[in-house]
């Protein structure tokens, strides 16, 4: 090969952005088409640096907007390349139209979404409103809780998305700053192991296959559109989960790190539980352990695969609990939180008696402290003891001013 490899240490101290860039390097991405935006910039910058240092053979395409960035990715993917990019927040908003093109065209692009609040007011810090904004865009969505997982899930994303039975684009979410700019020790794979796991890119219906000319981006109207969308949903529901399982299993074989559609911590005998995403999952794990010392049987569930949503796993894990809090890091805009809704949807029509409450927290990077979580578990235990919700169904954590509660 015409490029150099890197010797990595057993433990590297990387932040989430650098971890993602290293994964793109190891996957030998052909094209990164991007328009950098805080806090995702260093993913693209890192890949461009690898390119400048002759550590990758790919192309970095700098474009004039995020809309063009994803359009470039779509073109490159349709042409038959392994393609990735990164964005956040407003950048994703501008990209949104093209995300639907990518999934509808069944192009396996990997998008590092470094979760950031959406303006107004302008804010560069973490919340999940960008992740939620494109939750119905037809992309597979993974969520990393730390830098190690951002690295691992990037490799897994190529493996899953590029499978010819899947052929769907994949978002790898990580918390802006809290993961993207937080350095922690992680265990990277060697360049060879990582590339062998991801595998050589196998094109499908690529425009550069001159022996089989194809037209991409066709128009359908009422006569065909529904069938296309139905096919996409059916594949996402019927095929993707098992493909993710396969990739998780193979990744565990080579790395020793096991991933699941939902990650369960201290759930075996749990009576109360917090369900959340991103770095909050880890902070909650630590608090749950401390709550157990106080006699509260606390557990945590982190959503690893946000799309396709793991309905069956969730209802199985939660149905026998007494009280569950669902944490949504996005302004709900006149509804219950999106994750709350999915969890409620997983539990309805079962005979569960679990008490479900939703909490809006952490908007614009507002700190979720251990103290907040201690109070939350205490409230859950009170609900469990009373056998009913003692509060309204939707509350806010960590916002100044009079207490907010709805529903």
């Amino acid at each position: 090969m015409a490029f150099d490899k890197l010797e990595l240490n057993e433990i590297e101290v990387w932040d989430g952005n650098h971890a993602a860039a290293q994964a793109l390097r190891q996957a030998q991405v052909d094209v990164v088409s991007a328009y950098p935006i805080t806090p995702s910039t260093a993913v693209v910058e890192g890949y461009a640096k690898f390119k400048a240092d002759n550590l990758v053979e790919g192309e970095v395409v700098m474009v004039e907007s995020e809309h063009a960035a994803m359009s470039g990715c779509i073109g490159a993917a349709a042409a038959g390349g392994r393609v990735a990019t990164a964005t956040a927040s407003q950048g994703l908003a501008l990209m949104a139209e093209t995300l639907y093109q990518a999934s509808g065209m069944r192009l396996p692009i990997v998008l590092n979404l470094v979760n950031r609040a959406l303006a107004a007011p302008l804010n560069v810090n973490c919340d999940h409103s960008d992740m939620y904004m494109v939750r119905d865009s037809g992309w597979i969505q993974f969520d990393a809780f730390n830098a190690q997982e951002a690295y691992d899930l990037n490799l897994i994303a190529f493996k899953v998305g590029e499978d010819h039975d899947v052929r769907l684009p994949v978002v790898v979410n990580q918390d802006g700053f809290l993961t993207s700019h937080t350095a922690q020790g992680l265990h990277p794979l060697s360049d060879d192991d990582a590339y062998n796991f991801v595998g050589e890119y196998k094109p499908m219906n690529d425009m550069l296959d001159f022996e089989h000319p194809v037209s991409h981006g066709i128009q359908t109207e009422e006569d065909w559109h529904f069938e296309h969308k139905a096919r996409q949903h059916a594949d996402t529901m019927n095929i993707v989960p098992a493909k993710i399982d396969e990739a998780f299993a193979e990744f565990e074989r080579i790395s020793g790190r096991k991933y699941n559609h939902i990650e369960k911590y201290d759930m075996d005998d749990a009576e109360v539980c917090v369900v959340c995403m991103g770095t909050s999952v880890e902070t909650a794990r630590e608090v749950a352990k401390e709550m157990r010392e106080k006699g509260i049987k606390a557990g945590v569930i982190g959503i690893r695969v946000f799309r396709p949503f793991p309905f069956a796993d969730i209802s199985e894990a939660l149905k026998d609990l007494k009280a569950v809090a669902v944490l949504d890091r996005s302004a709900p805009g006149g509804a219950a939180g999106a994750l709350f809704n999915e969890i409620a949807g997983s539990l309805i029509n079962t005979d569960t008696k679990v008490l479900l409450s939703g909490y809006i927290y952490g908007l614009g990077g507002r700190d979720l402290t251990k103290k907040h979580l201690v109070d939350l578990y205490t409230e859950l235990q009170a609900n469990a003891d009373a056998g009913k919700l003692l509060t309204q169904q939707q509350q806010f954590i960590g916002v100044r001013g009079p207490k907010l509660a709805f529903l």
């Binding site: 700053f177 922690q184 630590e286 402290t369 251990k370």
Partner: protein, 185 residues
């Protein structure tokens, strides 16, 4: 769990310092975390960076911290921001200043009764590296106060971390680290 909070101005290298420290500590088998609060993200704006160190994986991602050590690498921040916020009784403060300790405490009474150490990282950096980048000298002072590692081991480790810089700059940083180690009071 060892927790450190850095007070700095954007551009003075607190994030690089915090990540460098994490990198060194990580090679000794401990688990590390280094992050920062960027605020308005403008060069010169006050900012804070953080280190967490533990024998087990660091899961806590809250930004709230009751630090064991507070590093102040810009001399003005001790007056314009509260460097003692969320401090514990035994929190140690290593503060960049040209003042003797008693004068500093007189000028900032909040430091009264605290375990305060002073070192002039700005002057050291100016005289060695040639630029007011006070992050590596602060780590030299920290090695002295914390007795975390032998200073020679620490300098060797920092050489590895700084290896992409020109040799002249690396050497200057080594002198700066050693001077701060020797001069912190």
């Amino acid at each position: 769990m060892l927790e450190i909070r850095w007070h700095s101005r954007a551009g003075q290298g607190a994030v690089t310092g915090a990540k460098g420290l994490a990198d060194v500590i990580s090679t000794t088998g401990k688990h590390v975390q280094a992050f920062a609060f960027y605020g308005s993200a403008k060069r010169g704006a006050a900012m804070t960076a953080y280190n967490r160190v533990d024998d087990k994986p660091v899961l806590n991602h809250e930004k709230y911290m009751e630090p064991d050590y507070v590093f102040v690498i810009d001399p003005a921040l001790v007056y314009t921001s509260d460097v003692t916020v969320n401090g514990k009784d035994n929190t140690k403060y290593i503060i960049t200043t040209h003042l003797p300790k008693d004068e500093l405490i007189k000028a900032q009474p909040k430091l009264e009764g605290k375990e305060v150490y002073t070192v002039d990282c700005i002057t050291i950096a100016n005289e060695t590296i040639g630029r007011p980048i006070p992050n590596t000298p602060m780590l030299g002072a920290f090695m002295k106060i914390s007795e975390m590692y032998d200073i020679e081991f620490f300098k060797e480790s920092m050489k590895r971390i700084l290896k992409k810089l020109p040799q002249k700059i690396v050497d200057a940083n080594m002198i700066a680290i050693q001077r701060a180690y020797d001069e912190v009071k």
